[in-house]
Amino acid sequence: MSKKWNPFPKNRARHRNHLMFKLRARSMTFFVFALLFAVSFLRVGWIIFVHGDDYRSEAEQSQLYDTEIRAVRGTIYDINRTPLVTSASAWILCVNPNEILKFFNNVNIPGAYEAYCEDIGGRIAKAVGMKKKKVVAMMEDSEHTYVRVKKKVDATERLALDEILTAPYAYAKTSRGADRNVYATSFFTYESDTLRLYPENNFASTVIGVTDNDGSGISGVEKYYNTDLSGKAGRIVTAKNARGQTLDSSYETVFDTTQGSGIILTIDQNIQRYLENALVNALESTGAKGTFGIVMDVDTGAILAMSDKPDFDLNNPRVLQDAAAAEALKAYEGTDEYAQMMTDALYAQWNSYCVTSTYEPGSTFKIFTAAAALEEGIVNLDTTYTCNGAYQVAGTVIHCANRSGHGYQTLTQGLMNSCNPFFISMGQKMGVETFYKYFEAFGFTERTGIDLTGEAYPVVHQQENMSVVDLASTSFGQSVRLSPIQMITAGCAIANGGKLMVPYIVDSVVDENGNILSKNEPTVKRQVISEGTAATVRQMMEAVVEGGTGKNAYIEGYRVAGKTATSEKLDVKKTDENQLLYVASFLCFAPADDPQVAVLVGVDEPPGEYRGGGVLAAPIAKEVLEPTLKYLNVEPRYTQEELKAISKTTPGMIGKSVSQARALAEENNLTIKIIGEGETVLSQVPSAGSTIAKNGVVVVYTNSGEAMQTVNVPNFAGMTAASVNETAAAYGLNVILSGPSDAAGATVYQQSIAPETQVDAGSTVTVDFRITENMDD
């Protein structure tokens, strides 16, 4: 190094140079700082504060993995908190097809990918009951990273799936011959789902309703109370990396689920069962297009039971139960309209006929005309009218059901006979304005406001357009279309002393522990008629059951008030000129002096010869009403006449001597039949404490080892009470006669033990009577 240090530069010049350098350095600093701050402060700020939200949400679309945790849907109970519908946890099986493809692309063995999808897809398809082709197609849908394979995987299916997913799948061999495995859990995941469980397939199906694939209600209570039932779904937001792998829980945000509330229906399981059994029997025995029925608490408007048959299986709601409809639909399969027609047919099946359909109420409507006329003082119980078979209004002749005329009759008789001209005359006397006042007051121009979706609007004449002919036909229930729920609600107004209630089907909404969150209280819409008028109409209706067209609804020990109807379907196109399309219905309540429950039943389009509501519908109503009254602990009060025929309880005779047994039988007005030569009674039929008719038979056995005597139950159908008793005695059977057995023309239409069934001698058979003659209304 030969450089020499110059220790003495001229200080002034040196200082100046240094200043110049400082200046250059400083200017440079400002320049680069300006650049630095521009790219950082401004550019980064621009990205964050102007575009940040867009970028973030775009990034999150791929980063985040949002899993919905379904809230468990609430339980639906009957009024006694018996669960009718419950929910269970289920899962949704999901697959990441993209990941499968990526994996096998890395593996790079020809055919391995296809073989894998075939094999695993096939096994999964088998486990969950899907078509293999469909599952394989989903697994090979490699464009997507998330595909839902199967919803509503239940616990059993889950077990089977877990086994498949956790099993190693050998896609290749290593050089040493060991398996190279892949686990399906790398591609498949579960999402939470819930399952709706219906313990009894068809039970109350149109009331309960169905849920769609996502678990929200689409008909019935499930729909109307969907918000309460569904609860609030929770979410788990997890992040995933670019390979679709879920990151650890520190990236996880959980939003809790709120379980769905429970719904307590006003429906009583037992009453619903009485109703459904009766309706199914009626549907089978009449071969009608359908039957419907409602049982309502007259004081509150709460629906105790409601059903229409045919309904559907809640566990298979998408199977058409109406064979004819399904057959008709088949013809359209493959056409463009098919899907829409199928949907329409399904909704028709799911909807409750009682709420969503209208019918011409017919003669049951007469009680409202009578009530209005009584309230207005236009008629009273002493009013009389002579029916000559027809009534002429403004040039139109309207016939009575009885073409030859009912002749001279009082108001009560008019209702018992269901005389059309009498009621037309009442309507005409009131005039459109007065009539319409009550027509509106009974709620026939508006919907009832029941807590179910899809309630039908009534199809009625507008007041300003109502001609006298319209008035005439409306007076006896034709030319208007009302829903069954409207009819029974109006009927309850007469039963409960004039109050029109808002019908309701849900009693309360409860939390998961059963605490009541909200309760539906009975709501009085208005006072339609006075209590006195209501009482008068009830009295008239009781007469209908006692001696008029409603005799078939007669129940021993209970005072039933009712009215029959047979209404022609005037608006339906008939396929055959002579075909008679009609609805036979019966509206009643009991007890007549202090009504508690009202029942409306109807038979839609019964085929064959013409039979009225008294023949077809009244026995159904009775079948429902009798056990219902007993179930509700309504004390029976028998008339003297009834008491004579009242059934007895069999005394215990086992262990007694033959003579003692004889004395006991005498004491109880029973016939005794002794079999064998022994001294002591060893067994008896019927056993002690059974109910049998007065003068019934008790068979006692005195020989040990002697076989019980058996008899084949005879067919009582069509017999009168006298011949039933005779036949039963001949067979050694006990019979209990139910219905109007004493009335003229009453014959047996059904019996509790089917004919030709082998039973022990002395067994009891209940036979139901009905009157089929002279019941036109």
Partner: protein, 425 residues
């Protein structure tokens, strides 16, 4: 052989003329600068750990692999930094500058030839057995700074247009060879052209290696050094205008021209212009970078909570680490880091203006400019302001060689800071 004795030295008790005297200096370190280096390094290595976490797990199975390697490099780097800070940098103001310059050129040339012969498309690395890959262009930055500082010192009188040559500190100390060179280019434009050509050799070789970011950086450094050395403004106005025009022409008017250097650069430019995400590979990284920055918001998602580092943003520990930093620490955190960089650069300029040694001042200016340009270019790439060039963020980006070289340069600055005598003006 007299040692270059600084004017004022605290407690130099070694005997003059000894080796110790020649090699080491004894002034105090600049504490502020040292602290800033330490703070930036600490934040950088921690953020690198966070950013590399997911990638490290995915590639090596352990989250700590990159972090551990970076710590090893840091340990070496710190040792190197402290050693260099103790050495007398003025030893470089000699034939050594030329030796390093020529050595670098040979290295760059060798790399180029090696890769051309190997048929590699990327020609900037050479493998070193047992070490990994080495980028000679990293060394080229320092070599350029050094040779330019050396030459500016030689040509100082001409460049300033100074009448009195004796004003320059080392003028009297020019060696024979230096004097000959000086006399050959004895006027401002000759000197400027000569220095420009000297720089152009390195710039050209790096460009041939297709290391675009390093080329841009080297050009910037050449300009900065010449400006600091007092080259006439007209050069900058003319050349600056030409370069801006060329950039605009290449980027927006006729990108086809870059095809001369191969498809690679052209593709990147087109990707930058068209923001094409369809191809995924090209714009994907930049797009994910914007997502990361955008997700940060004012205060970030919190340290360690970046989602974009979960393999969304490729190589998050490397060139795009700043995007992850902003995502985790937010605008505020990111800007504090920028301010720390600015403070470092500012402190570097303070050191440069306080030292009496022109050569040292120029070295510091060059090194500081290098850091500053790298930060600017890196953030410009991360924020999609310029095409993706592939340039790391000093102290932050993963890479052992780069970190050791950076800390070595910091050592040079500290070494210069030991000779500071002038109090803040």
């Amino acid at each position: 052989m007299t040692a270059r004795t600084p004017n004022a030295r605290p407690a130099d008790r070694s005997k003059p003329g000894t080796l110790r005297r020649r090699l080491f200096q004894h002034g105090g370190l600049d504490i502020t600068f040292t602290c800033l280096v330490l703070i930036l390094f600490a934040i950088g290595v921690v953020m690198m750990y966070s950013a590399s976490y997911a990638t490290s797990v995915s590639k090596t199975g352990s989250p700590n692999t990159y972090f551990r390697q970076q710590l090893v490099a840091a340990a070496i780097g710190f040792a190197v930094m402290l050693l260099i800070s103790k050495l007398d940098y003025r030893i470089l103001n000699s034939i050594w500058a030329i030796i390093i310059y020529v050595g670098t050129i040979l290295l760059l040339g060798f790399t180029l030839v090696y890769n051309v012969l190997k048929g590699n498309t990327m020609k900037r690395w050479i493998p070193i057995p047992g070490f990994g890959q080495f980028q000679p262009s990293e060394v080229a930055k320092f070599a350029l700074i050094l040779i330019l500082a050396y030459m500016i010192c030689i040509f100082a009188p001409v460049l300033k247009g100074a009448e009195d040559r004796s004003t320059m500190p080392n003028l009297g100390g020019l060696t024979k060879g230096e004097r000959i060179v000086f006399s050959l280019f004895d006027c401002p434009w000759k000197a400027t052209v000569f220095m420009g050509m000297t720089a152009l050799v390195i710039v050209g070789l790096v460009l041939l290696e297709k290391h675009l970011s390093a080329t841009i950086l080297l050009v910037g450094l050449t300009f900065a050094m010449l400006w600091a050395g007092g080259v006439k403004k007209i050069w900058f106005i003319v050349l600056g205008t030409l370069i801006v025009a060329a950039v605009v022409y290449v980027l927006y008017i006729n990108p086809e021209i870059t095809k001369v250097f191969g498809e690679y650069g052209y593709e990147r430019i087109m990707v930058f212009r068209e923001k094409d995400t369809a191809g995924r590979t090209n714009y994907w990284q930049t797009q994910q970078s914007l997502y990361a920055i955008g997700s940060g918001g004012p205060f970030g998602v919190g340290f360690g909570n970046s989602k974009q580092k979960q393999l969304w943003l490729p190589e998050p520990q490397n060139d795009f680490i700043f995007a992850i930093v902003v995502e985790e620490l937010g605008y505020v955190g990111g800007m504090i880091i920028i301010l720390l960089f600015a403070a470092l650069v500012w402190r570097g300029f303070v050191i440069a203006t306080r030292t009496r040694d022109y050569f040292g001042a120029l070295l510091v200016i060059g090194i500081m400019m290098q850091v500053c340009f790298q930060v600017i270019l890196n953030i410009a790439v991360v924020t999609d302001t310029i095409p993706n060039t592939g340039i790391g963020l000093p102290f932050f980006s993963y890479g052992g060689t780069a970190l050791v070289l950076l800390l070595a340069e910091m050592g040079v600055v500290l070494s210069v800071s030991r000779s500071c005598t002038i109090e803040a003006a």
